[in-house]
Symmetry: C2
Subunit: 452 residues, 2 copies
């Protein structure tokens, strides 16, 4: 079986399982209690906190465990904003943060705060300079992920931390995707993580607040979820011990996918930074393919992958990450390899993928990979794709582009939001010019100029 969605979740690490069983016997009591069962639980909790702090690279008294990574983000963001309320109510985030950070920002806006989203480049990375330009006198907090959960691109955290330090703004790093691989470098102020991402159990996050950072928790501290915390800390130590070797191995496997998908699948685009990236994640998009159907077909072939945004795929809204990067979202596939993923599984995936994509395209009536020859035509060509869902508008566009004279334009009428992202992305991939959108009686008219 090819389970390739480790970025969503993975089976409990064997070391974590063992630790969980031991802690269920020894650490079930309330660690705040003074009797023996409570003291025993307290010792386990303290040891787990020490181990996690060592792995993060902080002091044990700077780290608390939370009920999830999302909760750690929420508590960290609200507490840091409240602690610097006198400075102002401005929050800076990157445009490709995890939904937990973006939701915290939306809640902040709903309460009267302001949020600036820093744009990313086509690889999904922010620039330290652009990030610095977003900081203001009233900026209370800045947030940046260590690496992106959808495309694997690593962010320049150390450089951004330096820019924030110079501006006197604390930086919260969402390290959910990278903490299993190593500590986060640089002078960050707050850091969050999620045990489920490093082979630990669900229900455990961590929040680090550096000494000296102003922090005013908005809610009382939670009761610690003890046996799970012990398992989480044990797992973090265990994956760290294998991290360097496993990173090299997985990186070689994802390199293979990065290199070969564009060779094996026509009209596919691998996204994310080819170098500065997480070892186990590779993401690509296939023109003229519907993501959900592709997932179903891959599942039937024995492969479990995710598509688009990890949090919004089921509603079929295009991923905010791919949108911010300006890359294609249709037919999007994220392969995230679990620890121990085997090369043979990856090879079998590469064998199966081209046929699956071709099958989906055939069902949807996609054009043949190479567009037909040029024909003279009508400058006012309009494709009516109203009521058609992604990827049909792009398929219809690709079918008629050959009928447009070079220099001429075609308008695609569409009301599926995904078209706003995918039509420009198709132009970029095909070397055609995207000339912008115009209001239309229904939906939107996307204007494409044929340049070749």
């Amino acid at each position: 079986m090819g389970y390739f969605d480790a970025a969503s979740g993975a089976p409990l690490h064997p070391v974590a399982r063992q630790a969980l069983l031991a802690a269920l016997d020894e650490g079930w009591a309330d660690p705040s209690r003074l009797y023996r069962e409570g003291r025993r639980a307290r010792m386990l909790l303290d040891a787990a906190r020490e181990a996690a702090a060592e792995a993060v690279g902080c002091r044990a008294d700077e780290l608390v465990f939370t009920s999830s990574g999302t909760r750690a983000v929420r508590t960290g963001v609200t507490g840091a904003l409240a602690g610097r309320r006198r400075v102002g109510r401005h929050l800076v985030v990157s445009a490709v943060e995890h939904s937990s950070v973006l939701h915290a920002g939306e809640a902040h806006e709903a309460e009267g705060g302001t949020v600036t989203q820093v744009a990313v480049d086509r690889t999904g990375a922010v620039g330290a300079e652009a990030y610095g330009a977003a900081l203001r006198d009233d900026t209370a907090l800045a947030c940046l992920q260590s690496a992106n959960h959808e495309v694997g691109t690593e962010q320049p955290v150390a450089e951004v931390a330096e820019v924030c330090r110079a501006a006197g703004v604390p930086l919260l790093v969402d390290a959910a995707q990278s903490l299993g691989w190593g500590p986060v470098a640089g002078g960050w102020s707050l850091l969050t993580g999620s045990a489920h991402k490093w082979g630990g159990p669900s229900g455990v996050g961590l929040l680090v607040v550096r000494k000296g950072v102003r922090f005013a928790p908005v809610e009382p501290a939670e009761t610690e979820n003890l046996p799970a915390i012990v398992a989480a800390a044990a797992s973090l130590r265990a994956v760290r011990a294998e991290a360097a070797q496993e990173a090299a191995r997985l990186r070689e496997l994802t390199d293979r996918v990065r290199a070969r998908v564009p060779q094996l699948v026509p009209d596919a685009e691998v996204v994310g930074d080819p170098e500065r990236r997480l070892p186990g994640i590779v993401t690509f998009s296939c023109l003229y393919v519907d993501g959900e159907t592709l997932l179903h077909e891959l599942d039937r072939a024995g492969f479990s992958v995710s598509s688009g945004s990890s949090c919004t795929s089921s509603t079929l809204t295009p991923s905010h990450v791919l949108r911010a990067m300006g890359v294609l979202s249709e037919g999007n596939v994220r392969v995230s390899l679990p620890l121990g993923a085997e090369g043979a599984e990856v090879e079998r995936f590469l064998e199966v993928l081209p046929g699956v994509v071709a099958g989906v395209r055939e069902k949807l009536g996609a054009p043949s990979p190479s567009p037909a020859a040029v024909a003279e035509g009508d400058d006012a060509l309009v494709v009516d794709a109203l009521g058609k869902l992604c990827p049909v508008p792009v398929i219809e566009l690709a079918k008629v582009i050959g009928d447009v004279p070079v220099g001429g334009t075609v308008r695609v009428l569409a009301d599926d939001e995904a078209a706003r992202l995918d039509i420009p992305a198709w132009c970029e991939m095909r070397g055609q010019e995207y000339a912008g959108e115009e209001p239309a009686e229904q939906g939107t008219a996307y204007v494409i100029r044929r340049t070749r």
Copy 2:
């Protein structure tokens, strides 16, 4: 070993442990995913929700799992208040709610809402009439626990729900302490629970919102903590299957404690309702004893109990529950028996307790149990207990009361907050008259009139 603090936490039920292990293998994936591992997880989650809903007595689509009982309360209270914001911003709670409810109330006040606390009688119960009197036209929500976590007293939930229904106010029931014993009767609107209290794992709460109740969640839904949820639901079914039999057995054991502690320990008061109460909890207070020392000595003798408020004992603030009841808080002991607690352990506890209490009293220089004979004396007697911590002010009072003529008064100067509660409680126990407090240069002067 006598672990008598089940109301704080208990070892995982064997059925829950088995379910947890199975779910770690089968239910580790994200249940929102469409691939096979996700679908398998979804099936386990749906089955757990069905089982929990059946035990609660609600529809499965009315129930969500949360990351703790505290989180369930928080989400329930904030969501119900937001859903009825147009009606008003008034919240009604009882004075003896769990800290999670009171904290939610404090947060509501901090945001400009108002909170009314309904007083309780000496057993810790609210009256439905008094509760109804607190409801107003702008009351958005009312909260009442099913049973008290410190003294075990059951609240008249069905009557209060009826009063709320008549006033058109939704009632949220915090059923954390009782859900393992049975469903909550009456027409409540929202209900919360905590798996850790029914032999399930930490990290799982549940929130029920009846269809038709206006509810506007303040935060996005959390990712479900799946293997733990499966274990929680399995545990709830298992404890319910044994509930009737086990309730009768534990009630007989706590009856023994209720009856014999006042016989065995001089100057001890058993608190809470003798009839309408949880089967496994019995709480008493011992005059002239410091709660923390008593816990330590009981721990040394092999018994794990809690004292005062379950959430504030370590700060030595008197329990808000005992305060609201107007009963003695010093030397407070809560015995909460775990499922399967043995009669022999309880007997041994009753054997050990008198000597432990006597030892603590001797160390503190407490007066002999029967106050000395009457002597004539000074109407203006003042006892200076400034800077002395509970239970010393009461010990000093007891030492001099014999020197006060009948009809005369004594003033106790004290600055420990516990004195405000314990001196009136001592008067009640001793049949003396508490004549109120007066401001003093330092601390407070508590005035006691000798009546016998």
